[in-house]
């Protein structure tokens, strides 16, 4: 038995080394050689950056990169619409958002939530945990369960790295190119975001994600909101509201350009809701607190 465990361990170790050999490990060996080919001394900085390289090799991107790219993307979106000047409302949405994301598998990200002044009906997420909801969407919601569902849908994009995947598949330089651009921004003295990165961010948010990523975010978002103790029909109710707005309404233009039609999303979401038992279906909508907080505006 012991031998079996040992050989399994060896097998796993071999596979790990093989994986490193494919790129990351050789990355460490060649990491510092560009600057100083003769150097044979140990450089902690190189080891750390080597460790990040390994992490990137395994997962494609490390969390620090993800957060950096997300900050840059969030700054671009904030350049198009400012947060509503209502500290009480912003704190409320942050508390609810924080509770919702505590039910995901990435609760430790530096999550930030904000209500934006925009009267368009929409919500956005950027990598690393920035989540925005427009005032235009917020004022159409009827309960905290619906707010939680919208935030959970966006959080699902973050935890499943949908935007990172989309950026890397659309960018000509791939994921490594975007990581490089984000690190240029971090190192820039004036904190200015590289123009190429700004353009790539705009491109992704104008183009939208893959349809299947949106359906997946609906499904996961509904489950996250239910995990947080809310009425699981929150997102269904929001999609029904969207479905009833005139499709030619300019307030929906960007949302419908970047998302599947609400009617399709409602149909796709049905099986997810069928799996819930009566206890989950009876979870509260939390209407009173929501109305009180929203009407405070």
């Amino acid at each position: 038995m012991k031998r079996l465990v040992l050989s399994l361990f060896l097998l796993v170790s071999c596979q790990t080394v093989t994986a490193f050999d494919l790129g990351g490990f050789s990355g460490i060996l060649s990491g510092g050689s560009d600057d100083d080919p003769d150097s044979s001394g140990v450089d902690i900085g190189q080891i750390i950056s080597g460790a990040r390289d390994i992490s990137r090799t395994i997962t494609g991107i490390d969390e620090e990169d993800e957060i950096e790219i997300g900050r840059d993307a969030a700054a671009v979106l904030l350049g198009a619409s400012k947060p509503v000047d209502d500290p009480e409302l912003q704190r409320y949405v942050n508390r609810i958002g924080r509770w919702v994301v505590s039910q995901t598998d990435r609760p430790h990200l530096p999550w930030r939530f904000a209500v934006l002044e925009s009267t368009h009906v929409n919500a956005f997420a950027t990598p690393g945990g920035y989540i925005f909801i427009t005032y235009g969407l917020l004022e159409r919601l009827n309960s905290e369960a619906e707010l939680a569902a919208v935030l959970a849908h966006e959080a699902a994009h973050v935890i499943r790295k949908h935007h990172i995947n989309a950026m890397s598949s659309f960018s000509t330089s791939g994921l490594s190119g975007i990581i490089k651009l984000a690190s240029q921004t971090r190192d820039a003295r004036d904190n200015q975001i590289a123009t190429e990165l700004v353009n790539q961010v705009k491109d992704i948010y104008l183009r939208g994600l893959d349809k299947d990523d949106e359906f997946e975010a609906d499904q996961i978002g509904t489950i996250i909101a239910a995990r947080a103790g809310y009425d699981p029909y929150g997102l269904m109710a929001v999609l029904q509201s969207l479905d009833s707005i005139h499709p030619q309404s300019s307030s929906l233009a960007l949302l419908y350009k970047t998302h599947p039609p609400a009617a399709d999303r409602l149909i796709k979401l049905e099986p997810t809701l069928d799996q819930f038992n009566d206890d989950i279906l009876a979870q509260p909508q939390v209407e009173k607190r929501f109305i009180r907080q929203i009407s405070g505006k």
């Binding site: 904030l78 505590s102 930030r112 009267t119 956005f124 159409r140 905290e144 995947n165 479905d243």
Partner: protein, 191 residues
């Protein structure tokens, strides 16, 4: 003339209040009207597609509704908000249907379709022309909540976490075609 004018205003106020009593909606696929919000409860009537009704309240996946003849419960998924009328009398063609009232909530403005200029911020044009705002980004920290603040907000509202498994990450290439909107009329209730 003045009296006529007042009568019109009174009429408008009256009809606005009427519509506020229940949310106007219609049936989007053939379904049944139930006595209670359960699939095994008594069926009161069958509701064909495009039946107009009014939503009284929601309970989980069910709406309590009133139709022209009845009050009962219908599955949420079989209902769309807003009422419909058939332009040429043929209610079987979706294209001929016109949304009489797109009231999603009482707060919605009916004139929004024509007031494009009133919609501002984070539309396509604004995003295309956006200059990154890192100051606004830094200011978000001021309103951030920590895990404890989130926990307290949940407790205040009596929200209890439930253990439901999150689905596994999907394979990127396992794309399923989106369901056609035309297929949802023939499987209203799958009992």
């Amino acid at each position: 003339m003045k009296q006529f004018f007042y009568a019109i205003i009174l009429f408008c106020v009256f009809t606005t209040q009427l519509s506020a009593a229940g949310k106007p909606a219609h049936i989007s696929r053939d379904t049944s009207l139930y006595a209670k919000p359960f699939k095994d409860s008594q069926i009161l009537a069958s509701l064909p597609i495009n039946t107009n009704l009014s939503i009284i309240k929601r309970k989980g996946g069910w709406y309590q509704v009133s139709t022209a003849d009845n009050t009962g419960w219908v599955r949420l998924v079989a209902v769309r908000l807003g009422q419909v009328r058939s332009a040429d009398g043929d209610s079987s063609t979706g294209d001929a249907l016109e949304l009489l009232s797109g009231l999603a909530t009482g707060r919605e403005k009916s004139s929004e379709v024509t007031t494009a200029s009133a919609v501002k911020g984070l539309g396509e044009e604004e995003l295309r022309n956006a200059t990154p705002d890192t100051d606004a980004l830094d200011e978000l920290d001021e309103f951030a909540a920590d895990e404890q603040a989130g926990q307290e907000a949940a407790e205040q509202a009596g929200l209890k976490p439930v253990d439901i498994a999150l689905p596994e990450a999907k394979k990127k290439d396992k794309a399923t075609p989106p369901a056609s909107p035309n297929t949802d009329t023939d499987n209203g209730e799958d009992e």
